[in-house]
């Protein structure tokens, strides 16, 4: 994820594309996500990147309320299109973390002592970071699983769906919802870790139970 380098034209183009069909960085209301990206941009985007400019001017109008907007500011690499490589390095274990730069890596003349101190602090930071559990992106998905007809054994269908196991997938509650003509669809909740489980995979595995399942739809998809 991430937009690349937002101070470069290429990064701004990614942002522009991302915002072509979105009013905000995340969801449908202004949030800390927008503030985080807004603060990373040094000046209003050029007029030819008009989606980015529209968004920029809109977020600027919320300048006074920025502290009270919902959400939590995350590293820039967490926002944006999922198919863009995260080049900010904030999310990985690379040494180019913003915090580490504070410990004087810009100094040209580093005394032995200062260097040793820095190495020590680096090691401390790394160990602290590795101990902290990573915040995992999760989503709550509501699936509609439709049977062939009203004679399909819904209990067996549910069993088949729940038998699908995957790392990062947890099944939740379910209920049977009538859709007409005596047919009922299975509406089942699940919580998935975004990195590990996708709806494509779920669809493939559920529709593999061809005897019971006619089709599957995603009824609702919410980020947790």
């Amino acid at each position: 994820m991430g937009f690349g380098d937002l101070k470069s034209a290429a990064g701004l183009r990614v942002l522009n594309d991302f915002l072509a069909d979105r009013s905000y960085i995340e969801g449908y209301v202004p949030s800390q996500a927008d503030i985080a990206v807004f603060e990373a941009i040094s000046a209003p985007p050029p007029a030819d990147l008009f989606h980015a400019l529209r968004w920029y001017n809109h977020i600027k109008s919320y300048e006074k309320q920025k502290a009270s907007l919902p959400g939590v500011k995350k590293a820039l690499g967490k926002y944006g299109p999922t198919d863009v490589e995260d080049t900010t390095g904030a999310a990985t274990d690379s040494k180019d973390d913003d915090d580490i730069d504070l410990f004087g890596s810009d100094d040209e003349e580093e005394s032995e002592e200062a260097k040793k101190l820095r190495e020590e602090r680096l090691a401390q930071y790394e160990s602290k970071k590795s101990k902290k559990p990573a915040v995992v992106a999760k989503s709550s998905i509501l699936l509609d699983v439709k049977p062939w007809d009203d004679e399909t054994d819904m209990a067996k269908l549910e069993e088949c769906v729940r038998s699908i196991q995957a790392d990062g997938l947890v099944w939740g509650s379910s209920k049977l919802v009538p859709v007409g003509y005596g047919i009922k669809k299975l509406q089942i909740q699940c919580v998935v870790e975004d990195d590990k489980v996708g709806t494509d995979m779920l669809e493939e595995r559920i529709t593999a139970f061809e005897d019971y399942v006619q089709s599957m739809d995603v009824a609702a998809f919410n980020k947790i």
Partner: protein, 172 residues
């Protein structure tokens, strides 16, 4: 007409039970008030409801905002409601697409009655658009998708789906 005014009442949090009627061939909605002949016309009734609900900010705050809200309400009634042919619709969508290029809401940065009534007025149009048309009018699609997710607006109306990944690589 009347249905959207009922939806608007609910969105504004007003109590149910207002008496609506229609007048004339074009079925212009009429709201019966306690005293007097009643209010006629969508714009009039909608503005009245907003004031009843004490949500005047939906009509705009500055003089310019108020004017823009009125402008789009007028557009809704004089252009959108009378459009019947595909060509008329195309012109409207093109107009809106240009206007929304640099704005999040019709009035710029604030959500107003203009967005609400334009959403209700255009819903039947957006529902029928093909994927390519929705991509063509990218700004309208973005705006429509935003408004239909605004709490309380969509209610029982169907959710129009907008695909995130663009299938047609055309110029903006």
């Amino acid at each position: 007409g009347v249905e959207e005014l009922v939806l608007l009442e609910k969105l504004l949090g007003l109590p149910k039970g207002s008496k609506y009627g229609v007048r004339g061939e074009r079925k212009v909605p009429v709201l019966q008030t306690n005293n007097g002949p009643g209010l006629t016309g969508i714009m009039t009734i909608a503005a009245y409801l907003v004031k009843q609900a004490k949500k005047e900010q939906l009509l705009g705050s500055t003089a310019e905002e108020k004017a823009i809200v009125q402008q789009w309400l007028e557009y809704r009634v004089t252009q959108v409601d009378v459009s019947s042919s595909k060509e008329d619709t195309r012109i409207i969508l093109k107009d809106l697409n240009i206007h929304l290029e640099d704005k999040v809401y019709l009035a710029g940065n604030i959500f107003t009655l203009a967005d609400i009534l334009m959403y209700y007025g255009l819903h039947h149009v957006m529902v029928e658009l093909t994927v390519q048309e929705k991509e063509n009018y990218l700004n309208v699609s973005r705006w429509f998708n935003h408004i239909q997710h605004y709490p309380g607006v969509r209610q029982h109306l169907s959710n129009v789906v907008f695909i995130k990944n663009r299938l047609y690589t055309n110029a903006h």
